[in-house]
Amino acid sequence: MMREMTGAEMVMQALIDQGVEHMFGYPGGAVLPIYDAMFHQNQVRHVLVRHEQGAVHMAEGYARSSGKVGVVLVTSGPGATNAVTGLTDALLDSIPLVCITGQVPTHLIGTDAFQECDTVGITRPCTKHNYLVRDINDLARVLHEAFYVAQNGRPGPVVVDIPKDIQFARGMYVGPENIQHKTYQPRLKGDPEKIRQAVELLAKAKRPVFYTGGGVINSGPEASRLLRELARLTGHPVTSTLMGLGAYPAADKQWLGMLGMHGTYEANMAMHDCDVMVCVGARFDDRITGRVDAFSPHSKKIHIDIDPSSINKNVKVDLPIIGDVKHVLEDMLTLWRAMKIEPDRRAIADWWVQIDKWRARKSLAFTPSDRIIKPQQAIKALYDQVKDKDVYITTEVGQHQMWAAQHFHFEQPNRWMTSGGLGTMGYGLPAAIGVQVAHPGSLVIDIAGEASIQMCLQELSTALQFNLPVKIFVLNNEYMGMVRQWQDLLHGGRYSHSYSESLPDFVKLAEAYGAVGLRCANPADLDATIAEMINVDRPVLFDCLVDKTENVLPMIPSGKPHNEMIMPDHPEALDEAISEEGKMLV
């Protein structure tokens, strides 16, 4: 399709042609023409945010829960710089976004004009790719290319910076048909010979483990289905990173729970003692490996990843397979069946006996109290009431995030949205709003802390304006709990600025926004108050007052290997857990 139109009209037409239904944004001088073009159409619905960081996190929540590309529109200068945290978050967690930024007119670029900043310069290291459009005849192609780059290969955020004069200029619009990047063609199918070697390794494994990550989610629901099939066929145990929760059902008997710094004992011990490790769409992050030179010392490591730069980055692997998780798992399954493989059932049975011994340590155990709400108890109570509902969970960052990952269990992919790589406090509420936009009829809950929630709380106003009945479940311990926990670990319990002083009255604050405020401090009232939260069809801020001293356990102290976990039955070991070397780590 070729048609003459203005740059601003091209932006809206390109979004429509890309199938965009929702976008998140905030107007300003350098994007007014686009907002005007938006005014003349009703196919793309715009959600007006209160801060540009919120817009990007909303688009992330939208993208992660729906599998679509999230779209953001912000103005030049501060609009763009406010978006930087969200873009970096999306880059680290591989979330497909297209972020359109306004720019001062081309003749003013470089003059320190009002609300000018070097957007492509600033966002170069925090995007998968970015563009500054200087010619109206490039605009349509660049917009379609941006969608292609954002969602192909390892997904990520793409910025398109459009000067205001280009928005007014007239040119020929071209449709998205056949627009592919001329050279960016990521490899989807894995090398058949390597896949054959992987299947042979798996067939002979005596102590195997599947270590899965966000790449399984990003590869689409089919990848999760294939993972389940392969696990069932092989009988091998499955663990996952924080980002991959939900790809494998938590209710399944082959599920070991999350691994890593606050993962389960059985998952980490299985990783440490395994003889064959299959890493599926994960990246050997430092939260996962612990001490690298003592990481899983006896295993052959297979690594499936679409991004070649993930291979051998932190940990040397024996068998890298570059490709999309879905395609590689499909080929592995086909080959496993064709080769009529009989795994070493006796060895695998012995392996499960060992795993069950580790499980019996009950590493997620906690002691509920009838006097004070334990944060783990709060998550468990929430989970028990909503697990059979159509529910999506987002989180902020900190202790509450880890408790949510440990005690809320996911059976399906795309149900769990959390800031894993960047660890962005303030992510959860806007992400929940984005999820609710994509799934209007579903129950969307942001599990939060009283410190994190204040970082993007203004978006509550967005939730009210667009009738998005998100629930904010605040575990209020009056501390930046994870900071406090590390000060306990490393700094002799000197709580330097980690207490939440001068907290607002969250109930009144919610009411001031027009939302519903609830509070609970008594374990006996917890279930009823949670029920009240769920049953209100409006945004709710639930101030749940919990034990102020609880630490997240189990824990692999920084600088330690997987088999040196601190367990909840011996928390005192935390005091001497971290070596001088470990203190340098984060």
Binding site: V120, G121, R124, P125, K128, H129, L132, V149, G153, R154, H181, T183, Y184, R291, V292, D293, D307, P308, S309, I311, N312, K313, N314, V315, K316, G559, E581, L585
Partner: protein
């Protein structure tokens, strides 16, 4: 805690990239942002029609880091090809340098003799100075410069390494 320590190696990488604004910043930013070394960097357009530039980067790092550098470069959207000339065999590496020497009397004679033995050309002369032009491998230029040092070396301008694989095939 760094992973297994392996000795650093010097590698010469050739990149074919889209000649678009910001492509060099993207590559340099990748090296600085991830803490990789750049020993030498040259860039110039090689095909006007297809708007391609060729970049030659000389870098040092442990083998695992060199692998990372190549994969990280390769996943940049405007990068078409990354070739490790050090891995594919002995590539031709050349660098050009302009070197200014100041002095009078015997020293001038000495400088001219050295320049001659290195096949450097004299491209500028005054009564008290020379500018020499020399082309060669980087270590040859290093050696030339160090010999001129005591003879009144004023300044050096080097282009950085340009490299190309031997034999009939393109990168």
């Amino acid at each position: 805690m760094p992973p297994i320590q392996e000795p650093a190696e010097r590698h010469t990488l050739s990149l074919l990239v889209d000649n678009e604004p910001g492509v060099l910043a993207r590559i340099v930013g990748l090296f600085s942002g991830r803490g990789y070394n750049i020993d030498s960097l040259t860039v110039s357009e090689v095909s006007h029609d297809s708007r391609r530039s060729r970049i030659t980067v000389v870098t040092t790092g442990a083998p695992m880091i060199i692998e990372q550098i190549k994969s990280q470069l390769d996943r940049l959207v405007p990068v078409h090809r990354v070739v490790d000339l050090t891995v594919i065999g002995k590539a031709v590496e050349r660098e050009l340098a302009l070197i200014k020497v100041r002095g009078k009397g015997e020293i001038r004679q000495e400088a001219l003799l050295i320049a001659d033995s290195f096949r450097a050309r004299t491209v500028d002369t005054t009564l008290e100075s020379f500018v020499f032009e020399i082309t060669g491998k980087p270590d040859k230029i290093d050696q030339f410069v160090s010999l001129l040092e005591p003879l009144g070396l004023v300044e050096v301008s080097r282009t950085g390494v340009a490299a190309i694989g031997r034999g009939p095939d393109a990168m």
